[in-house]
């Protein structure tokens, strides 16, 4: 990764500006209640980790944030938009400001890396100028250290590379908020550490607020300013890693002990 462009200033969380606020969020699938009283808030330039076991509804939670799923009840405010009540056009407007890195990277298999990155530029911003596209694509790829993959297909890349391309594809739209769904799952520890590093760099360079969804305690510790635990569909124990470690919650201790 090209470390020379990292700004030296340390990140300052702007506590006066709430970019995401979720209150009493509930979501069920059929009889099964997946989210039950989730409360959380994210401030500008803050990285929040949401820690929870597999199947605890973490993916459902961030899909509610971008309006991919509709909650049964509760408030979701993102950048001043009330998400559940948005029209399609407003939702689009909001989504352009939110980057979403998917659990499985979700790169478009049928397209090359260049086309993957072009896709949102052409279709959202209406940029068709070849040179401008090229500039933006190369800048974004450089950001994640993968310029050489530009003409490859997603199937030719490793899991960690796919994750980084996925992040580059969202960064190309200059989002104000980043949502990461299990950024390190399925990666070896070294690659995972690189991704963690990248998440911090993105925050520092783009001044984004982020939610990092994870079941990986070391990812949560390294990438986040604050951690919320999602246990049985409820958000609990809001605090820094050290604060969480000091509380003696049974469910959480199992995480720390692994």
């Amino acid at each position: 990764m090209n470390t020379e462009t990292i700004p030296s200033e340390s990140n300052v969380i702007d506590k006066t500006q709430r970019v995401i606020e979720i209150r009493n969020l509930e979501k069920s699938f059929g009889d099964r209640r997946v989210l039950n009283k989730v409360n959380l808030e994210v401030f500008a330039r803050e990285n929040l980790a949401v820690l929870g076991r597999s199947g605890s509804g973490k993916s459902v939670l961030i899909k509610c944030i971008v309006g991919l799923l509709k909650p049964d009840s509760g408030v979701i405010q993102v950048l001043g938009y009330d998400v559940p009540s948005l029209s399609a056009a407003e939702l689009n407007e909001l989504r352009l400001q939110v980057g979403f890195s998917f659990q499985g990277s979700a790169l478009y298999d049928s397209m090359s890396i260049r086309q993957n990155l072009e896709f949102p530029l052409k279709r959202n911003l209406g940029i068709f100028d070849k040179k401008e596209l090229d500039d933006k694509i190369m800048t974004s790829l450089k950001e994640v250290g993968l310029e050489h993959t530009v003409d490859q297909k997603p199937a030719e890349l490793s899991g960690g590379m796919k994750k980084r391309i996925g992040i580059a594809r969202t960064l190309i739209l200059k989002p104000k908020i980043m949502l990461y769904d299990e950024p390190t799952s399925g990666l070896d520890p070294v690659t995972a550490a690189e991704i963690n590093e990248l998440i911090l760099e993105v925050r520092d360079r783009y001044h984004t607020a982020s939610i990092i969804i994870t079941h990986d305690i070391s990812c949560a510790r390294q990438t986040s300013d604050r951690i919320v635990a999602l246990i049985n569909g409820e958000s609990k124990l809001n605090g820094t890693f050290e604060e969480l470690k000091a509380t003696h919650d049974e469910e959480l201790e199992r995480f720390f002990n692994y």
Binding site: L68, R95, F102, R123
Partner: protein
């Protein structure tokens, strides 16, 4: 559910359950009340499961309805996806052309050869070109093309969109504001609707060519003569209805296959299921549409 069923099923047949569970020590009176209660429970559970199935079927109908409405809305109002539409048209033509050529050519030969003896037995062998041309244009050409495309395009669209759905690629397009529905679904359905008529016309031509070769082997008639007889025996309604039918086939294949793919779930098994549903449902609908068009034509004629 399964547990309840096996238990209650045993109780419906009192003798059997008595033998199995050895209830001889129970008093007859309590036994009959338990039976009544259990019978009520069986009825209730089956009623409940029936209601659940009905609700599920109705929700499915509702989502299909919304899917079709959404298709028309996004197809009619801009922005239009010309480039991707062209791309899909080309893909569809490219994918099915060879198979259609092959199958229709053979079908033309077989159909002609099979019709020849029966016509000859009436001494009406000279009607062979007109019989064949009506058979090919009204029925054989559209049907073969429709079925080939249902297999080829249906499985392709179902699997492609299905795998995009289960690997969250469609979600990724959705959250980057790139309107996946119009990009993926509208273009495919429109392309199928536009291309099927072209393919059917081509298929008719190939089938008639096969048929000509057969006719020529019987009586050495010239190509010009054969096609004169063909054009004389088919009318405007035959051609128009065949084109309309083909467009309906294309629309059905496109919308069914895209629906199956777009709404697939449960990971990789869901992709296989989507492709399968796409092909089977498309084929069934092709026969249904064929019948409906035939009936409506009979009303017009």
């Amino acid at each position: 559910m399964a547990v309840v069923w096996t238990r209650t099923n045993g109780e419906i047949f009192p003798q059997l359950s008595n033998i199995i569970f050895d209830r001889s020590h129970q008093k007859p009176h309590t036994r009959s009340t338990t039976h009544n209660m259990l019978l009520a429970r069986v009825l209730l559970t089956s009623l409940k499961s029936f209601c659940m199935k009905l609700t599920k079927a109705l929700t499915n109908v509702a989502t299909i309805y919304r899917f079709v409405v959404r298709f028309f809305k996004e197809a009619i109002f801009p922005p239009y996806e010309w480039r991707e539409l062209l791309n899909q048209c080309f893909t569809i033509g490219n994918k099915s052309l060879f198979l259609i050529t092959f199958t229709c050519f053979l079908a033309g030969i077989v159909f002609t050869k099979q019709s020849q003896p029966s016509l000859a037995s009436f001494g009406a062998e000279s009607w062979l070109p007109s019989l064949v041309s009506q058979g090919v244009i009204r029925s054989l050409g559209p049907l073969i093309t429709g079925l080939i495309c249902a297999g080829k395009l249906g499985s392709n669209m179902g699997a492609e969109l299905g795998s995009m759905q289960v690997t969250e690629q469609i979600d990724a397009m959705e959250v980057s504001g790139t309107r996946p529905f119009s990009y993926l679904v509208v273009t495919r359905v429109l392309a199928a609707t536009l291309m099927l008529p072209l393919l059917v016309m081509y298929a008719d031509g190939v089938a008639l060519l096969g048929s000509f070769i057969m006719v020529n082997s019987f009586n050495d008639s010239s190509l010009v003569l054969f096609f004169n007889e063909v054009t004389a025996s088919i009318n405007y309604i035959d051609v128009t209805s065949s084109i309309v039918k083909a467009a309906l086939f294309g629309f059905a294949i496109g919308i069914i296959s895209c629906y199956a793919g777009y709404h697939s779930e449960n990971g990789t098994t869901g992709v296989g299921k989507a492709a399968n549903t796409a092909v089977v449902a498309s084929m069934i609908f092709i026969f249904i549409i064929d019948l409906i068009v035939l009936q409506s034509l009979n009303l017009i004629r």
